[in-house]
Amino acid sequence: MLAYFFRRILLTIPTFVALMFATFVAIRLVPGDPVEVRVGEHGMSPERLAMFRHELGLDLPVWKQFLSYVWQLLHGDFGTSLSTQQKVLTEFLTLFPATLELSFFALMFALLIGLPTGVIAAVRRGSYFDQALMSLATIGYSMPIFWWGLLLIMFVAVNLGLTPVSGRIDLIQYYFEPVTGFMTIDALLSDQPGAFLDALHHLVLPAVVLGTVPLAVIARMTRSSMLEVLSEDYVRTARAKGLSPLRVIGLHALRNALLPVVTVIGLQTSALLAGAVLTETIFSWPGVGKWLIDSISRRDYPALQGGVMLVSTVVILVNVMVDLLYGAINPRILHGR
């Protein structure tokens, strides 16, 4: 078991090296003078240019530059943002909780609706419910979520006035220092009445928008995985023993049907982060996704470089954790190899 875990973790090292190399090359491909790209200043005097070139180490041989880049990364130095002059890692860590909170609620939304409806659709296969759910899933899966977000803002927030249009909390009414960076938790900690509900209120639309595609994927996956399991012998045996349908479905079938669903949830991390870019842009949600887009429009290439590096690191780590979790709940993986 340990050997499996160890090997899986070792396997990420080449990917990390490749990632470092790719981000190292990427910033060199930006058109323009490499010093100006990094300093964000144009039309510098030759002396100033030479000074920065030396300061940034751009006068060294390329392989030395790469090694020092790797060295910096390994010491947690992901560069300095041009627009804020802050360390990219600091900025990322301040903003990441917002993205994490949004993704968490989106995933909860997807799971809480996707799992039960997927199971019901499988049990009542061919019924109107099943057909309707699968049609909706196709639509959800095909949804351009930026448009979906605009539509929901238009109908739910503007026309019906049911939710706020953007942001994480009503900043005029509530103010407290961030402790964890998670607005819902901070609101609870702040002891301001109504703050927690207001934070939740702000989360509804973005979470629904970001959760739509995962919801469709999870509902489809749960249904097909459940259908497969329901035709297994052990389910028939359980039924033949006279166990109640609820027990057969809930205990015998669902547990086994969930295995592939766990993998799919893991694969959704990457999709969630990509979706967060769009969702955060639409809802002015101050997270990592919006930050990446903003750094492009500000031509803040160091922030973009460090940001991509950090986002990808998150994805790689989550994938490793999902694999480890999968190994833990499915012993066949450990013993098979």
């Binding site: 080449p14 990917t15 490749a18 990632l19 790719a22 990427a26 491909l29 930006v30 058109p31 049609s135 196709t138 639509i139 899966y141 095909s142 949804m143 351009p144 930026f146 448009w147 979906w148 605009l150 539509l151 803002i153 238009m154 503007v158 489809r220 097909s224 259908l227 497969e228 990457s270 999709a271 982060l273 990509a274 979706g275 870019v277 769009l278 842009t281 639409i282 990446l292 887009i293 492009i296 429009s297 290439y301 973009l304 991509v308 986002v311 990808s312 994805v315 790689i316 994938n319």
Partner: protein, 308 residues
């Protein structure tokens, strides 16, 4: 079919004849495809979008980029103040929405098909090479693909566009890079599966050359899953390109690209909802059509992959 079965039961000779002449593959495929009502519906929808794209010059009432200064933000025909001149209204610059949406089909399908064909060819080739050549090439290709998979597709596309600059061509390049790994992995996996089969061993024993083994013996047997991936990949590419357009990183105005039509539509949410509604609806309908068709294609091409 019922009639055939009785014939089989009554006259064994005919049964032999039937077994000896199976229906042609394309007929069998069509029969299987037609069973899936959703897929047929999707195909009709897709045909409509394709027709719109091909005939854009004939059916669009106006030029997609002409700005009617006298009719800025005109409402669609069914709303108060709407006219038949601009059936779906006009946008913030006075351009006819309907014409832009019709021409937009051209742009989106072009992006989808370009991404699909380039990644199909390059991804397929890389996958085959990865499966059939030595460890070094295999490891190198697999690692690079792992790396691309580690970056969320949209973030990767954003990075590529940030470096190359926003344009329609760079959108295609960016989305192609982001979706390449799927094709490579799929091709590699199915080629590896085929490599162990007897017919490949037989071909090797006979002394078939490496290239012939790759292109003529193995490739045709790996195509089915790749074709399905390609069909579904068109819709993903369209969505991704539209997202880039929405972020202002894709096709640049005045190109009638559906995503970029939504780019600055946020300001019209309160006042002119049609500017927000129609481009997205066009994206959704096109993507649903392709996904339904792709699902049908998968079920018909490979019953094993059928999601029951």
């Amino acid at each position: 079919m019922g009639a055939d079965l009785t014939t089989v039961a009554l006259a064994p000779d005919d049964a032999a004849a039937i077994i000896l002449s199976p229906p042609s593959p394309s007929l069998a495929f069509w029969a299987a495809f037609r069973e899936n009502k959703g897929a047929v519906f999707g195909l009709w929808l897709l045909a409509l979008v394709v027709a719109m794209a091909l005939l854009a010059g004939f059916i669009a009432p106006h030029s997609p980029i002409e700005q009617f200064r006298d009719a800025v933000k005109a409402p669609p025909v069914w709303e108060a103040g709407g006219s038949w001149r601009y059936i779906l209204g006009t946008d913030g610059a006075g351009r006819d929405m309907l014409s832009r949406i019709i021409y937009g089909a051209r742009v989106s399908l072009f992006i989808g098909l370009s991404v699909m064909s380039v990644s199909f060819v390059i991804g397929g080739a890389l996958g085959l090479i990865s499966a059939m050549s030595g460890a070094v090439a295999d490891v190198a290709i697999t690692r690079v693909m792992d790396l691309i998979m580690a970056v969320p597709s949209l973030v990767l596309a954003i990075l590529v566009v940030a470096i190359l600059g926003p344009s329609l061509t760079n959108t295609i390049v960016a989305v192609t890079i982001a979706y390449l790994p799927r094709y490579v992995r799929l091709m590699r996996a199915s080629a590896l599966g085929e490599l162990n089969k007897d017919y490949v061993t037989a071909a090797r024993v006979v002394g078939v050359g490496w290239l012939r083994l790759m292109m003529i013996t193995i490739l045709p047997n790996c195509l089915a899953p790749l074709i399905v991936q390609a069909a579904l990949g068109v819709s993903d590419a369209i969505l991704e390109a539209a997202a880039l357009g929405f972020l202002g990183l894709g096709a640049q105005p005045p190109t009638p690209e559906w995503g970029s039509m939504l780019a600055d539509s946020r300001e019209f949410i309160r006042s002119n909802p049609w500017i927000v509604t129609f481009p997205g609806l066009a994206i959704l309908i096109t993507v649903v059509a392709i996904n339904l068709t792709g699902d049908g294609l998968r079920d018909a091409l490979d019953p094993k992959m059928r999601r029951s």
